[in-house]
């Protein structure tokens, strides 16, 4: 009797998740499987590794470049978001905290493609940034250089993703027990020590999750590298678009996608390991 009820409960549960499951299967698992199969299929239908050979022959630099850009951006995002969230939690000037709290979220609402377009005029050789630097006497006109290369991509990524991580981290910091912080301050610890030794260890998990989510997001952005630096070396997303658009070569594009999926899977593994650990240690 109890077993039957339990079985029925399980069926109801399955029925409840089936719409979501169907969407995941139809729009994610199936296309992924097709993409996987096409990456290994030659024109005559036989199995082959030639598309991977071509990917490595032409795009090894771009794969490494993408990884380096995304890792560097992730590191900068971590530093920046900890600094901002830290000030929001520990700052003592209420007006500065309020202004910062209001300001930092703006990039969250701006799509990547718009961020790319903003950076394109902001970071150009005769763009707004250099005009300001020259106007304020910080650099000579001849020293002005265009930042529209790997640096432009990093700036756009950090500008766009740091607020997202900050939002998560600031939330986690706000929910900490303030007694620890106040005790440390009473014993004379400077604010950076409180941040480093008291606050950060307690929100480490949130920082990691935020950074990993940003890592995976940035890996898949096409618009920013396409608008800022579509020339070599560039990010793999540009190469995928280029293989499809210029060569209608879905095979190599799929091979490249699988390779970046491997990199993203590294992030996912990290995320799952941490999320599972977090769930287990919670009461």
């Amino acid at each position: 009797m109890a077993a039957a009820a339990e079985r029925r409960g399980r069926h109801v549960g399955l029925a409840l998740i089936s719409p979501a499951l169907a969407i995941v299967v139809a729009f994610f698992i199936v296309p992924l499987a097709i993409s996987f199969a096409l990456a290994f299929r030659a024109k005559d239908g036989s199995l082959t590794l030639q598309h991977f050979d071509k990917s490595f022959e032409l795009y090894t630099t771009d794969l490494l470049f993408s990884l380096a850009i995304v890792l560097l951006s992730s590191a900068l995002i971590a530093v920046l978001s900890i600094a901002i969230a830290g000030y929001l939690t520990l700052g003592e000037n209420p007006r500065a905290v309020a202004v910062l709290r209001w300001l930092y979220r703006w990039p969250l609402f701006i799509p990547f493609v718009v961020a790319g377009q903003l950076m394109r005029t902001f970071l150009a050789k005769n763009g707004m940034l250099n005009h300001v630097l020259i106007g304020s006497g910080l650099i000579e006109p001849l020293q002005a250089q265009s930042l529209l290369d790997w640096r432009g991509i990093v700036v756009a990524f950090v500008w766009k993703q740091a607020p997202f991580v900050t939002l998560l981290v600031a939330g986690a910091m706000a929910s900490l027990d303030r007694q620890h912080i106040e005790a440390a301050r009473n014993l004379g610890a400077p604010r950076w020590r409180v941040l480093w030794d008291i606050v950060l260890p307690q929100v480490r998990g949130t920082v990691l999750v935020g950074v990993v989510l940003s890592f995976v997001t940035m890996l898949s952005v096409l618009s920013v590298p396409l608008m800022i630096n579509p020339n070599s070396p560039t990010m793999v997303t540009v190469d995928v678009a280029y293989r499809i658009n210029t060569h209608s070569d879905y095979a190599v594009a799929n091979a490249l996608c699988l390779l970046s999926l491997l990199v993203a899977a590294g992030g996912a593994w990290f995320y799952l390991r941490h999320a599972v650990k977090g769930a287990e240690t919670k009461p």
């Binding site: 150009a124 800022i228 579509p230 020339n231 560039t234 658009n245 210029t246």
Partner: protein
């Protein structure tokens, strides 16, 4: 009482809706266009309203699929999917596509031959109406316009623009970081420059455009690209077709390859300094037409033919294509010139004379050579 009132209102609303139906039941002509936003603007703001005024009850709906060959690729994929699904009436009536797309679509029987069914079909004269990158498209296409890549330069900084690729290479050595182009992944003006470079430096010349294709030429192509790698040390890579124009306008580069029509449109809109000029070096730079095509099972094929006939008429080619959008006409220029005041006609040929255009305006290489050249570029220049 209240309930009855509600029912009455509902019935009245339904009746009104049914009564309104015949008025709303009009034919929609779906025009799907590859290319930049200006192509969609052209149909929505200019050609569509004209056609609707002449054909009451017809609504022209234009949709853009994006710039470059990828735009045509999307149209190809849509038609191909409808073909494979066995759909009886396809939901694209007129498509505007690039040469590569048109060649693929003709080969896969996705298009309907129509040139002999429209009066304006007799007005086309250029080879591109029959041949798209080596594929026979005779009868299936009519060029909407021709577009051309040329060097744009700032005459304050460049007194005498280089007349050939050899002169350009010298000039770039003397003036490092003053020439900019957008590589092969950032748009066709950069791709066109690379094609012109190979054409000038490989010795293959006409063979690239006329064939016959031989895979053995890969080595020759890659040898000519090795020179481009050195050349690239002294140039600026720009972010896209518009990126080159932006950098020219901001004075960050002094010269670069651009699409002529984009250049003129930017000048007309005040986005580009009126000082900047154009030149075409020998042995030339490629240009390409955009084609009007009708899908094999277009739902409104008869209307589509009528639409294209209007679009190819000398009046529309003169007023729309040349005067308003700064493109070179798709039909033979002699039919267009007489419809325009000389000032408007000459504006198109201020910097590049019709004879230079005829000599140095080249087609893109054959599809196979095209692939060899861009892949060669990735293999040799980008490494």
């Amino acid at each position: 009482m209240r309930f009855r009132l509600f029912t009455t209102a509902a019935i009245a609303a339904a009746a009104a809706f049914v009564a309104a139906l015949p008025a709303a039941a009009q034919t929609t002509l779906n025009v799907v266009s590859a290319g930049d936003q200006n192509m969609v603007d052209y149909v929505n703001n200019y050609l569509g309203p004209k056609f609707e005024a002449m054909n009451p009850g017809v609504k022209v709906r234009a949709v853009g699929t994006g710039p470059g060959d990828s735009g045509s690729q999307k149209i190809y994929e849509k038609l191909s999917a409808q073909q494979k699904a066995g759909t009886a009436a396809w939901d694209v009536d007129v498509a505007v596509v690039h040469q590569r797309g048109a060649a693929t679509m003709v080969n896969e029987k996705l298009l309907m031959p129509y040139r002999n069914d429209v009066a304006a079909g007799k007005l086309v004269s250029r080879d591109t109406a029959k041949n798209a990158l080596g594929s026979n498209v005779d009868g299936y296409v009519l060029p909407m316009f021709h577009s051309q890549i040329a060097f744009a330069y700032n005459p304050d900084l460049v007194k005498a623009p280089p007349k050939s690729y050899a002169e350009l290479a010298e000039w770039v050595k003397k003036n490092p970081k003053q020439f900019g182009y957008n590589g092969v992944k950032g748009g066709m003006s950069g791709v066109g420059f690379v094609m012109g470079w190979v054409s000038a430096n490989s010795g293959l010349g006409d063979k690239l455009e006329k064939g016959p294709y031989s895979a053995g030429d890969k080595a020759t192509i890659e040898k000519s690209l090795a020179g481009l790698k050195d050349f690239n040390q002294n140039v600026v890579m720009t972010p896209g077709n518009a990126g080159t124009l932006d950098m020219l306008n901001r004075g960050e580069i002094a010269m670069g390859p651009v699409w002529v029509d984009m250049f003129y449109t930017w000048q007309a809109d005040g986005k580009m300094s009126p000082k900047i000029k154009l030149s075409l070096p020998q042995p030339g730079l490629p240009g390409q037409p955009m084609y009007y095509v009708i899908p094999a099972k277009a739902a409104n094929a008869a209307l589509a033919k009528k639409f294209i006939d209007l679009a190819e008429s000398p009046e529309v080619q003169a007023d729309g294509i040349v005067k308003q959008f700064n493109w070179y006409p798709g039909i033979d220029p002699q039919f267009v010139q007489s419809k325009l005041p000389p000032a408007d006609w000459n504006k198109l040929f201020t910097d590049i004379s019709p004879s230079d255009l005829a000599k140095y305006g080249r087609p893109f290489p054959l599809s196979d050579y095209f692939t060899d050249i861009v892949e060669g570029y990735e293999r040799v220049v980008l490494k």
